[in-house]
């Protein structure tokens, strides 16, 4: 039998290729945008206005800063592209005979597939973060920038423990939402595949298309109903929610999303285990 770690590492290798490709394209486009910005600044990209002060720095620092800012701006688009590509890749793996022949149970297979897509996403964010940090670091040599930053850090030290918990909660929520995205895409794909395998042979492509659209609408409707039910149940379970206690509200939301992720994953596993075949070569 193949271990979960072995499969996870191999799937991560596969998906990180998309990460490197997206990162390279992002870096190249950021470079192009930076050059365009620099030329449109009429030769004065090294002049910065900070709190009304005119700061002049050297050209290299200014170029690097512009590149870093461009990397940050393009990261939103790059991350969106990654989500789409990784979702398609996940579904290809779910149906690939090459992957499905691996001796591992379907639960571990699916969790490895979702998990590696998400970890690869975090890897993309880390790469982008490091690039932005490294390219923006030299700007710290500018006095006004340093002053502003130290002011910001002093403010952040004054944050209450509750604020840090809220930040942590928000981070967990992002992870649960990210996982939910992959689980829902799989639910739509796997359930429509399963249903289409039951349709009579020779159904036209148009009918297949209609079936798929109906399934997608039905699943979205079911998911919205399920979300309402889950959130309703959670709010009943935690009676203080109505009082506006932020911590409890956040906990309630996290528990609801966790439950939602677990339920959708269980349905995905059932579909993969019982109904969805590997695509014939």
């Amino acid at each position: 039998m193949t271990s979960f770690n072995t499969l996870f590492n191999r799937m991560f290798q596969e998906k990180s290729r998309a990460v490197y490709l997206i990162y390279l394209i992002q870096a190249f486009s950021s470079l192009c945008f930076s050059l365009w910005m620099i030329f449109s600044m009429r030769g004065e990209p090294n002049v910065m206005m900070i709190n009304g002060h005119r700061e002049v720095t050297n050209h290299l620092i200014a170029y690097l800063l512009i590149f870093g800012v461009m990397m940050f701006i393009t990261s939103f688009f790059a991350n969106f592209v990654y989500w789409i590509i990784s979702s398609v890749k996940n579904e290809k793996i779910n149906r690939s005979q090459t992957w499905r022949l691996i001796p591992i149970n379907d639960t571990e297979f699916l969790l490895s597939n979702f998990g590696t897509a998400f970890i690869s996403y975090l890897w993309l964010i880390i790469l982008e973060g490091i690039t932005v940090a490294v390219t923006c670091l030299p700007v710290l040599t500018v006095n006004e920038v340093r002053k502003n930053l130290s002011g910001f850090f002093e403010e952040s030290h004054r944050l209450a423990v509750q604020d840090w918990w809220s930040l942590l909660g928000a981070l967990v929520l992002v992870i649960l939402l990210g996982y939910a995205w992959y689980a829902i895409v799989s639910l739509i794909n796997l359930s429509s595949r399963s249903i289409m395998d039951f349709l009579p042979n020779g159904s036209s492509k148009f009918i297949m298309f209609i079936v798929r659209v109906v399934i997608i609408i039905a699943i979205i409707w079911l998911l919205s109903k399920a979300t309402t039910v889950v959130f309703g149940a959670i709010s009943n379970f935690i009676p203080f929610l109505a009082d506006g206690n932020n911590d409890l509200q956040m906990s309630g939301t996290l528990v609801a999303f966790l439950l939602f992720d677990v339920v959708v994953t269980l349905i995905d596993i059932l579909l993969l285990n019982k109904f969805v075949e590997a695509k014939q070569n």
Binding site: T98, P200, K274
Partner: protein
């Protein structure tokens, strides 16, 4: 001798069409078995069910005491079309994948087989002709030390000379206890290898006979196989 593979009351339907119905098949260890049948008879489906990649079937498949699909997959080696790899993947990268994923994959054995098949590890999958791709698939399949080898029409694109060489060597590549189930249209060419013949017709296993019995009662295995379709030809 206990059976290596037991398929019991297996039925499989797809798109409301019956593909396999009440299939029962027992294979013992150390045999080379031909799975014969016309196109669409259900040979590939039967292999895919045994391999655990076709779902939603009724009945039981037991491979050396394992009924769970994941456990079966660990004990068998199936000719996969390598569609999970992009065309730009090099042979050496496919081998790396197999070596990491399958514990029973023997890289030295693969190197021997690769040399025999005259395959360059630096070649990309897109550079391989159909025959070369099939040679690679055969090499990858036999580089695993499995109990059961499922070969689904493995020689379709391979030229006659290489095919003959490969067929003659297959017996050397498998462990003594391992069984090979092979579906192929070149009945005459594989007939000398065979210990048993299984005929799939009318959605089920119609006959399962020893090759020696067939040779005694018919001129050849091909003739025996063709006798199942004699009535249809007359019509």
């Amino acid at each position: 001798m206990s059976d290596l593979l037991q398929v019991k009351d297996l039925s499989y339907k797809k798109n409301q069409k019956m593909i396999l119905k009440d299939v029962n098949l027992n294979l013992s260890s150390g045999k080379i078995v031909a799975l014969l049948g016309e196109n669409g008879a259900g040979k590939t489906t039967l292999m895919r069910i045994i391999a655990g990649v076709a779902k939603n079937y009724r009945g039981e498949v037991n491979l050396e005491g394992s009924t769970k699909e994941a456990e079966r997959k660990a004990k068998l080696s199936f000719t996969d079309g390598l569609t999970g790899f992009s065309d730009s993947t090099k042979i050496k990268d496919v081998v790396k994948f197999y070596a990491i994923i399958f514990q029973d994959f023997d890289e030295n054995e693969f190197t021997e087989l690769r040399k025999f098949m005259k395959l360059d590890p630096e070649m990309k999958l897109s550079q391989l002709s159909r025959g070369m791709r099939e040679k690679l698939i055969i090499a990858l399949t036999f580089a695993r030390k499995a109990d059961l080898y499922l070969l689904d029409e493995p020689f379709g694109g391979i030229d006659a000379m290489a095919r003959k060489k490969i067929i003659n060597s297959i017996i050397l590549w498998k462990e003594e206890k391992a069984t090979i189930l092979i579906s192929d249209h070149f009945v005459n060419e594989i007939s000398s290898l065979l210990d048993e013949v299984v005929v799939v017709k009318d959605h089920t296993v119609l006959e399962h006979k020893s090759a020696d019995d067939i040779r005694q009662n018919h001129k050849s295995i091909e003739e025996y196989y063709e006798s199942f379709y004699a009535d249809e030809d007359d019509e």
